[in-house]
Amino acid sequence: MAILECKDLSKRFGKIQALDSINLKIEPGRVVGLLGPNGSGKTTLIKLANGLLTPTSGEILIDGKAPGKETKAIVSYLSDKEYLPEWMSAKQLMDFFTDFYADFDRERAKEMLTRLGIDETMRIKQMSKGTREKVQLILVMSRQAKLYLLDEPIGGVDPATRDYILDTIIRNYNPSAAVVISTHLIADVEQVLDDVIFIQNGHVTLQSSVDEIREEKGKSVDAYFREVFKC
């Protein structure tokens, strides 16, 4: 069964149609790139999957269920915002995640913090922007979730961190879990993706595998994307 499924999913904000009758399925074991220019509806789709927004019409299903308490237990979400409370230390955040998420692997989180040289007792407030983003990523990737929804995880990070993020995604690969990475920086992530979904003005314009695109078009997804979304 698909871990994420959209059926005629639409979301409207006042006069703006952010998503228009989206239909798509994401199967477990896939690493999927949600690709589109800024404002195309990527974040709206991810927010709907997390229950942070309610559809205007249609449905979005996580493991067959509408977003709610049960689906939130199996979805690990990295927002593009800095959402960790500033007063908390990395250690307190690990306590928090241990309390709320049965699938949180504390040892793994500790190990990743150590490897990146982040002091557990340091508070978010004291950390640089880059370190905060790393802590968010570590917490999100230390869960054994069924669905990872990563919104712009590599936007604005330095190349070393970007490599670390992609490494973490590969190392964490689990055949029963799907990873969705939303980004507009395709060249950086192309190698780790199985499938791509192109999203444009609230419409899904393409859902295909990376190798299919390369085989059929004889060019990288990045190059193809630039062609499709040429201004």
Partner: protein, 276 residues
């Protein structure tokens, strides 16, 4: 999961409230000393100094009260409606759990602030008048005296307990109402993309207006005069009966308003959440 939300919320708010209480207690002690010094013979400069400490104590007491209220509003706002909302609304907990955890913790702090302020003011009063604790409490009637007095008027102790219980419920529901008045206004105001804070204030005023219209209309019809309620307050028993009924009715009115606000808050968060 409510337990875990409560634990986290106490952790988050304790770091503000406990130092505030600490400051109140320390200033209470200093103020006591200052008042004693002022009653002795001190120079003008020291008088000003001690006077300032007493004033600081007064301000701190008021600030503790205000802080309790501000924290109640601020926690809901920053934790659920700003960026931290991305963390809190993706936890595997229900919206009910989210709302109740904030209300319960706020009410506990209301009670704690009330207790701390009451205690320091009481102690200040006692120490200032040079009364010992024993003397102070000797001023109160004994339990036997109270019983005797009640018997004289034919009032049963059970009735008093009942009224006390009703009053306590009124205070609790009233506190829930206060929290939910802010929560509902904010969660409705934040359903919109722009001017979220302004709209929250508009909703706050609108809720006050609508609820007071509704309840004033009800009360005016119901409690027009003693005659209209068909009560005479000729005997103590009758007064007790009246108080019980009156409190019960107030409680009901308050509970209905609170429930309406609760539903508005939950729906606002569940269906209308629109984090920036």
């Amino acid at each position: 999961m409510l337990g875990k939300l409560l634990k986290h919320e106490f952790r988050a708010t304790g770091r503000t409230m406990l130092p505030v209480y600490g400051a109140v207690v320390v200033l209470a002690v200093l103020a006591n000393v200052s008042i004693r010094m002022l009653s002795g013979n001190v120079g003008p400069l020291l008088s000003i100094f001690f006077g300032l400490i007493v004033a600081a104590f007064g301000i701190c007491v008021v600030a503790a009260g205000v802080m309790t209220l501000v924290l109640m509003v601020k926690r809901f706002y920053t934790n659920y409606l700003k960026d931290e909302g991305y963390l809190m609304h993706t936890l595997p907990v229900s919206v009910h759990g989210l709302v109740w955890s904030k209300m319960i913790v706020s009410i506990v702090w209301f009670a704690a602030t009330f207790a701390v302020i009451g205690l320091v003011l009481l102690l200040t009063a006692i120490i200032q008048t040079d009364t010992s604790l024993a003397q102070f409490f000797a001023g109160f009637p004994s339990w036997a005296e109270i019983r005797e007095g009640l018997d004289q008027y034919g009032i049963r102790l059970g009735d008093l307990w009942f009224i006390g219980f009703e009053a306590l419920l009124c205070v609790i529901v009233g506190s829930l109402f206060t929290c939910l008045h802010f929560y509902a206004a904010m969660s409705l105001g934040h359903m919109f993309a722009k001017d979220k804070i302004l709209l929250s204030i508009v909703f706050f005023v609108a809720i006050s207006f609508v609820l007071s219209m509704a309840t004033t209309g009800y009360s005016a019809g119901r409690f027009y005069s003693l005659e209209s309620m068909d009560v005479t307050l000729d005997t103590a028993q009758e007064a007790i009966r009246f108080a019980k009924a009156m409190l019960g009715e107030m409680l009901l009115v308050e509970a209905v308003q609170t429930a309406v606000l609760y539903v508005a808050t939950v729906l606002g968060l569940k269906r209308g959440l629109n984090l920036a």
